[in-house]
């Protein structure tokens, strides 16, 4: 159990396996190293112990050697030197030797040691128990020979032998020590080698395991990759070997397999579905084909039906004749399967064609009238005409072919042929039964055409009525008994501010109409009541009317109602709305005016009457009498002026004022006005400045005097502190402008717009003392208006006021032509000579100049021209440069005239195609006109020059300026 659990633990994870492997390797390495170390330690220990034993043995041997040697030496010394100490010493050595021997016994371990020990035992016992006592006996006995003998033959050899044994033993121990060390070194080497081998084995093991691991991980991954690749390439999936594994790869593989399985299952599902669908589709296809066949059959029938239906619908949906005809011919052509078709109304020649150009149609109609129409009208039956196709019909076909024209008359209810239809088929003809059907359809067409005719007539009548209603300048509205609008005219529509066609109001309910009115009518309650009453009234006698005001634009409307009856049956009510705004305003203005006038008249009257009464009834001092009388006089005068002004305004406003208009030069008029007014003031300097020569006005001299008199009078009155008053005359944008500038009180801005209102006077204490009727400017306005002029005011309080009058500019030409006596004379007598070789041009110029009142002579050659000029001394000369005859050209004529003192003053106008203006003017020409020019330009140029010459020094300097100069 334990092991399998362990195995499972590792099989579950590659990481665990790897970690386990590393751990094992580590443990084994540690184990090996520690075994090696302990073994080496043990070897060293053993070696040390053995060494100590051996060294001990050797030391014992050495000391034995030393001890015996000393003993020998001492003994010999004793014998030699007879020193008993030495003998003693030698004997003492025995103890040492005994100790050593004992020690040796303790440490001996080998056979050699035992032999050596025995040798030592033997020798010791020999030496000390036999040799030494013997020798000493000999020595002490003085038996030297015996001693020597003894030593020589017995002892010495034995001692030497023993010494050799000792030596050998020591050497052997040395050897053993050396051997011991060598053994140690050998063992150490061996153990290290074994360790190296062990490590090597471990590494090999590692390699083997690693390889196994690599195989275990790499191969499954590779097979997984290959499997994935296979799947992606659509190959079959092989079951993966590793899928039984418990580790990550196992999991991966299983997941992979599952995934693949689900993909496979899905795919199988899809395939199955797909197959099913294909099967269904096949089935459907089969059905569709069947249906299509059926449909084709149906379609053909339906097409015919549809055309018939369309034909019928086309007949019934619209009353527009052209649309109906178009619909008839198209649908019939389709129905008949004709290549071309046309329907022609015999009464009106209206027609509609199918696949036929308008040109072709008209030609055909012409042809029809002359040919087959007669047959159709007479027979009232459809017939077919076979004919050869015309070239245009044939199109790209080279050979001639036949076509059939089907003529179908449309017969009306009163058995009259009203229209003819003709359909053409190329190639095939018509079946008898089809023709019958077409005739039947033609009957229906006939009914529809009849309807259209009726509708047209009704529509015509309706439009006529509506048009008549629309011409009426009053709002007309006809409502039925419920108040629903039946008809309404444009004016009515306008009155409720509608943007639409009045048609949009028809069928509008009474309530909706009331809502519309509520929006536009001020205080609509009364009007709505009135309308209710109007809708419900039954009596013709009850003619009622009502007046109401609209919001914007503010208007006053009077509405009256009239119930409408037919055969004593009420049909509805007609409301008529009249715009009485202007009458209403006039009325209001009138009463206001009367009230104002009465007030204005009563004030002076009150003083006249009052003071007169005082004079009559009271005893007054002469001064007071005088004061009152003069007051009465002034007030009476004021009353007169007021009445005059008032009558003037009345006359002018009502258009009853007659103006005797002539072309008048304004300058003398202004001069006389200034002259008149100057008397009344010593504080003012009045001047006139002109900046124009066009000072003529078509107007009434007296009224112009009154106009400027009033203005100047105001200027004087409203500049009580004196100052300069200037008339400035100038020209601006084709207008003749007169500015009257004063340095007076000025007019408040809010008063300017009311300035021209009747009886309006600027309220201000400064002005109260200044008298006036309040009508002066009203008169000014009226006079200016009557002269097609404009008047405007600009003013700065405390600085002054400028009144500006603008009249239409009058060119002097017109003055001369008609009214001004001086200029008329001038022009009548103006004699012009034209020198021009082009007869047509000279005729043209002559006519133009004569039209303008000049006397004209023309000459073609320079010589004749010069002669005529010198004889008649004309007022102007028109001269061409290129002239008839080589002897004298225009330049020569010009020089000739200018050289002669008698003629040099005559202005010469060169009329030439050459652009040599400089040269012409240098030679003394007054003007240079480059051909072509408008003849009127010539007239104008001549007139300007003549007028300038004649008036110079006379008119341009006004009197006022002259006076100024004098001052």
């Amino acid at each position: 159990m334990g092991i399998s659990k362990f195995q499972r633990y590792f099989r579950k994870s590659l990481a665990r396996q790897f970690a386990g492997l590393l751990f094992t390797f580590f443990i084994f390495s540690i184990l090996g190293a520690s075994i090696l170390l302990s073994y080496q330690h043990k070897l060293t220990e053993e070696y040390g112990q053995k060494n100590i034993v051996l060294e001990n043995k050797e030391t014992i041997g050495q000391r034995l050697d030393q001890a015996y040697n000393k003993s020998f030496f001492d003994m010999r010394g004793y014998f030699a030197f007879d020193n008993p100490d030495l003998k003693e010493n030698a004997l003492n050595q025995l103890n040492i030797i005994s100790n050593l021997t004992y020690e040796l016994e303790k440490v001996m371990s080998t056979d050699e040691d035992i032999i050596f020990y025995n040798e030592v035992q033997d020798f010791t016992s020999y030496y000390y128990e036999q040799a030494i006592p013997q020798a000493v006996e000999y020595y002490e006995s003085g038996n030297k020979e015996a001693l020597i003998e003894f030593v020589r033959y017995g002892t010495t050899s034995r001692v030497n032998n023993f010494q050799e044994i000792l030596q050998t033993y020591r050497l052997s121990k040395d050897q053993e020590l050396e051997d011991n060390f060598e053994e140690l070194a050998k063992r150490l080497t061996t153990s290290q080698l074994a360790f190296v081998f062990y490590i090597g084995m471990m590494l090999i093991m590692l390699l083997i395991i690693s390889r196994r691991m690599v195989i275990q991980i790499g191969q499954p991954l590779q097979s997984l990759a290959i499997a994935a690749m296979d799947i992606s390439e659509g190959k079959d999936f092989r079951k993966l070997e590793q899928s039984t594994r418990n580790d990550e790869l196992g999991t991966l593989s299983r997941a992979f397999e599952k995934m693949f399985q689900s993909i496979q299952e899905n795919e199988q599902d899809l395939t199955a579905q797909n197959e099913e669908l294909i099967a269904q589709q096949d089935e459907l296809n089969a059905q569709r084909l069947e249906l299509e066949d059926a449909l084709l059959l149906m379609g053909e029938r339906e097409e015919t039906l549809k055309r018939r239906n369309q034909l019928i619908r086309g007949l019934s949906t619209t009353l527009d004749k052209q649309k109906v005809l178009k619909s008839i011919v198209e649908n019939m052509s389709m129905l008949i399967k004709a290549d071309q078709g046309i329907i022609v109304l015999l009464d009106t020649n209206d027609y509609a064609g199918f696949a036929i150009s308008s040109n072709g149609a008209e030609q055909f109609i012409q042809h029809l009238r002359n040919g087959h129409a007669t047959r159709a009208v007479n027979d009232k039956k459809a017939f077919v005409v076979e004919r050869e196709t015309s070239i245009s019909e044939r199109g790209y076909h080279e050979h001639s072919s036949n076509c059939s024209d089907l003529y179908v008359p449309v017969v009306s209810y009163d058995d009259r042929v009203t229209a003819i239809m003709v359909y053409t088929r190329y190639g095939s003809g018509y079946l008898e039964k089809d023709i019958e059907e077409y005739e039947f359809l033609a009957k229906q067409i006939s009914i529809s055409l009849e309807n259209i005719k009726l509708f047209d007539q009704t529509e015509e009548n309706r439009l006529m009525t509506q048009d008549i209603l629309n011409t009426i300048h009053e709002g007309v509205q006809f409502v039925n008994q419920e108040g629903m609008i039946i008809q309404i005219n444009n004016k009515m529509c306008e009155m409720v501010n509608c943007d639409d066609d009045p048609q949009s109001f028809t069928q509008l309910s009474f309530n909706n109409w009331k809502t519309i009115l509520k929006d536009v009518v001020e205080d609509s309650e009364g009007l709505l009541n009135f309308l209710n009453k109007g809708v419900n009234t039954e009596s013709t006698m009850e003619v009622c009317s009502y007046i109401y005001h609209t919001k914007s634009p503010s208007k006053v409307i009077q509405v009256y109602c009239e119930p409408l009856f037919r055969n004593k049956q009420k049909l509805g009510t007609v409301f008529v709305y009249r715009d009485i705004t202007s009458e209403f305003e006039v009325d209001q203005m009138k009463s206001e005016f009367v009230s104002t006038v009465s007030h204005e008249l009563r004030t002076p009257l009150a003083s006249v009457l009052g003071f007169t009464e005082l004079l009559i009834n009271k005893e007054l001092k002469p001064e007071r009498q005088q004061k009152y009388l003069s007051t009465i006089y002034h007030e009476a005068k004021r009353l007169t002026a007021l009445i005059n002004d008032f009558l003037d305004v009345q006359r002018m406003e009502s258009g009853k004022q007659s103006y005797e208009k002539k072309y008048e030069n304004l300058v003398p008029i202004l001069e006389s006005v200034i002259e008149n007014q100057k008397v009344s003031t010593a504080m003012h300097s009045i001047q006139m400045i002109h900046n124009t020569n066009h000072t003529f006005v078509l107007g009434d001299k007296d009224k112009l005097s009154q106009l400027f008199g009033n203005l100047l009078n105001n200027a004087i009155k409203y500049s009580p502190n004196g100052g300069v008053i200037k008339f400035i005359l100038h020209e601006l944008e084709n207008k003749f402008i007169i500015d009257l500038i004063d340095e007076g009180l000025g007019i408040p801005e809010d008063a300017i717009e009311k300035l021209f209102t009747k009886f309006y006077r600027v309220d201000n204490s400064d002005r109260r003392k200044i008298g006036g009727t309040g009508l002066g400017l009203s008169i000014v306005k009226e006079i200016v208006k009557a002269h097609e002029g404009e008047v405007s005011v600009s003013s700065t309080l405390g600085v002054g006021t400028t009144f500006t009058i603008a009249f239409p500019l009058v060119k002097n030409r017109n003055d001369d032509e008609r009214n001004s006596i001086i200029d008329m004379d001038l022009q009548k007598h103006a004699n012009v000579i034209i020198v021009e070789d082009d007869i047509s041009l000279s005729t043209l110029l002559e006519a133009e100049l004569k039209d303008n009142g000049f006397t004209v002579q023309s000459y073609k050659s320079g010589m004749k021209g010069v002669r005529a000029i010198k004889n008649s001394n004309p007022d102007a000369i028109v001269l061409d440069i290129m002239l008839e005859g080589k002897e004298m050209d225009g330049w020569d004529v010009l020089r000739e005239i200018k050289q002669d003192d008698k003629t040099s003053h005559i202005p010469i106008f060169i009329s030439s195609a050459l652009e040599e203006k400089e040269k012409g003017l240098a030679l003394g020409a007054s003007g240079y006109l480059v051909k072509p020019y408008r003849p009127s330009k010539l007239t104008k140029t001549i007139l300007q020059t003549i007028l300038k010459r004649d008036k110079h020094g006379q008119i341009l300097i006004p009197k006022s300026m002259k006076e100024e100069k004098k001052m």
Binding site: S595, S598, H599, E600, R602, T603, P604, L605, A606, S607, V608, L609, G610, F611, E613, L614, N617, K618, R624, T631, E635, D763, N764, S765, R768, K769
Partner: protein
Amino acid sequence: MAKILLAEDEDVIRMLVVDTLEDEGYVIDEATDGEEALTKILENEYDLILLDYMMPVLTGLDVIEKVRKLPEKADAKIMMLSAKSQTSDQQRVLNAGANYFMSKPFSPLELVERIEEILGGD
């Protein structure tokens, strides 16, 4: 003697009324427009106020309406002199609070009589 305010913009009429009434011994204060009249009415006590109808700045009607709004002037006697002589104008003036009305042109002697009547009755 009774103190009278005359508000009238026309110099001539003012002279006529002032001369006439001063001859009778009244003390006359003059105003030349409605505003001036109103100021004087507020500052002084008059036995009678004569107002012209058509005056600059404030008309006689305006003045009456303003005066009648003040409780302390509720008893002030006001006579309107007007060239607007229609009954409707007269009615409007009286409705606004004028006590008396004389239309222009008026007789100076009649004016004196009316004033004596009004002030004598007190």
